[in-house]
Symmetry: C2
């Protein structure tokens, strides 16, 4: 038998070379350079774009950023390096010594020994100007370049950290990650129905705190974009955890394998904007309550929560015995037969056989929720327009790139 | 200013209740129950499906599985619990004491005090039969139920672990995760072109070893499905790391922000099967070499590797100065103007303005690769048909669920 241990041996014997990421290398990201403790003249190489140039009589100061952090690395060079090519927007590779900075503004700086201009920047044609703060609406016209600005770079990094935090949250809670299909033959839920989720503090708080501790500067920068008067709105959103609920059959089906979650692109009408959106969905035992639901819809997915002062429902499927002993055997079967009849009457029995099957072959109570990932990012960053938290937004009549 | 620290305070003040996942609860997953060290009669609750029933004179043995692990939990009950409803496929909730097992087959077992049948299973109609080993082709007909079998459950768990390992690999290597659009207006690459990647050992080995150490039993089970004679093929695949290369513009554009990777559903023709596939893409400094590439295609993405005995190329864009000093300033500009002319001649200048822009506003050398995630799973598991490593496969004339 060709077992796991044998496979491990085969892999180990593939090559005796160490894994590439453990290779010692003189090349550093700006982030790593800035984080270097006790810099004492090590020879390193840094690549990035020039964010500012300051030329003095005998010294040339450059700020170089490679997108790995909000802060740029200060490069100090002899004025002999000065050239017209060393300009805002150009990409450079700098070799030199990483040293402690004498200024209090930064811990380390790079004493340049060699500066190579890798790519020139046509400053006249370049849509972003040196030292100018461009509004988000303006940046939106340049989806292929805007990630080089501070604010969009910050959003991308926060987005990445938030994604990782959501994955960790579910993994640590014992959920299995699944990939749900993007093309489906089922019209599993009416698009554009909005629900408000009251309780999902665990996910919301854990991930937000991870993001805050991993990229506080990026979050801080985004908050500068909050219009005056919106501060209260953001605090209100954060306190009330307004999230969008959604649900699909894939998560429900795979509940049979284990409690699971997905992180999947979806399409939906949302605030009169059609766009691709990412939804985080889970199916498992974290309790979730829904308020302001469309009463006429989805009677099978909802259960009245009588203890609640508001009209709330638990997002569970009532066809299966749900949260407690409220629904006994007879009611359960009654509901199953009701659905069976409804489907037969509409000629949908074949199309929804899978749904009936799930309920006659050892059904289980289950609940779930969906969270709009872009809404979550808007919420923690205070970014007003959803198009600014999506790298390449698609909306009506617009599919740039 | 409404900063990160202020946000953190606001979040903390939302509720003083601890995060749900830290709540002490008597409910255990089968995996956690099996892993309990020094079980000594704690009262716990376990939910799952009955995998086997063995009725003796005075004792009833059940095996219960909830999809959290390959191994099932043995439930020992008084024969008075015996009933027709406690049958293969039914879902149950068992309360009882978790104790050390006297048998050598398992460490712990659950001494049942209460057994509730949550969902009956219509055994006659249920397509999976007790103790029968169904071939993968047969299981494929029941995409909504097959995740309850051992082999598909194993694949789902391995898939989840592999996804997490790939995310960790890139995060640890300093990459930013990005979501690329699913709908695009660019025909960025010809579908179905196959390349073979020679070197990507870091990703391949690290993730595979993580999967092997996190779910060895699941991998072991999948290997049992390898047809005789395929063992050599699997070993060959593992030694040669055959992977599929692909590339899109989004990863390239966002390279400007940082080195990045994506994990995105894509469509493509592959081995005459059209299906959704997941591709892991990266853009950064991990060297990647491509062999057997279609010579006529993508001259701008390829660079000859003269040191290689085979005809290999590095997957870099030649329009920008790439791997070394081989391409000086003049050749670089020559190539840019060549492309500019080609686009103008084809009337494509407007559509590809973004591509030209990336090259005139501080271009940077970049390379990348794509890995077919489902092929990777096939490779480490030895699963012959790609449809069996995808939860809900889509192919010509088939979009079940």
């Amino acid at each position: 038998m060709f077992g796991a241990r044998c496979l491990l041996r085969a892999l180990r014997s593939c090559s005796s070379a160490p894994c590439p990421r453990h290779k010692p290398t003189a090349k550093l990201s700006v982030r790593d350079a800035l984080g270097a403790q006790n810099a004492s003249g090590e020879l390193v190489k840094v690549q990035g774009w020039i964010r500012s140039v300051r030329s003095q009589k005998e010294v040339l100061f450059l700020h170089v950023n490679d997108g790995s952090s909000l802060e740029s690395l200060q490069v100090v060079a002899d004025s002999s390096f000065d050239s017209r090519e060393l300009a805002f927007g150009s990409s450079v590779e700098v070799q030199g010594q990483l040293v402690k900075s004498l200024s209090k503004r930064q811990n380390v700086e790079l004493k340049a020994e060699k500066i190579e201009v890798v790519g020139n920047c046509d400053a006249k044609a370049f849509p972003f100007k040196y030292k100018e703060r461009h509004p988000l609406e303006y940046l939106r016209q340049y989806p292929h370049l805007r990630c080089r600005t501070n604010v969009l770079g910050s959003i991308l990094r926060v987005r990445s950290e938030a994604t990782a935090a959501i994955h960790s949250f579910f993994k640590d809670s014992g959920f299995v990650h699944i990939h749900t299909p993007v093309i489906t033959s089922n019209d599993c839920e009416g698009a554009g129905e909005l629900f408000q989720v009251e309780v999902m503090e665990g996910l919301f708080k854990t991930t937000t705190m991870t993001v805050l501790s991993n990229c506080p500067e990026d979050v801080e920068l985004c908050h500068k974009f909050i219009a005056p008067g919106q501060k209260d709105r953001l605090e209100h959103m954060l306190k009330n955890n307004f999230l969008i609920i959604s649900y699909t059959e894939a998560v429900e089906i795979l509940k049979q394998a284990s409690q699971n979650f997905t992180f999947t692109p979806e399409w939906g009408a949302d605030l009169h904007t059609e766009h691709e959106k990412y939804l985080v969905k889970h199916c498992g035992d974290i309790p979730v309550f829904v308020i302001n639901y469309p009463l006429a819809l989805k009677p099978f997915y909802m259960r009245d929560n009588e203890d609640s002062p508001q009209h709330t429902v638990a997002a569970v499927d009532l066809l299966v015995p749900g949260v407690g002993e409220l629904f006994g055997g007879s009611l359960r079967e009654e509901r199953y037969h009701f659905l069976e009849q409804q489907l037969a009457r509409s000629g949908l029995t074949e199309a929804y056989q899978w749904y009936l099957d799930l309920r006659r072959f050892g059904s289980v109570p289950h609940g779930g929720f969906g969270m709009g990932f872009e809404r979550y990012l808007q919420c923690i960053l205070g970014i007003d327009n959803i198009k600014d938290v999506i790298p390449f937004p698609r909306f009506t009549h617009s599919c740039l790139l």
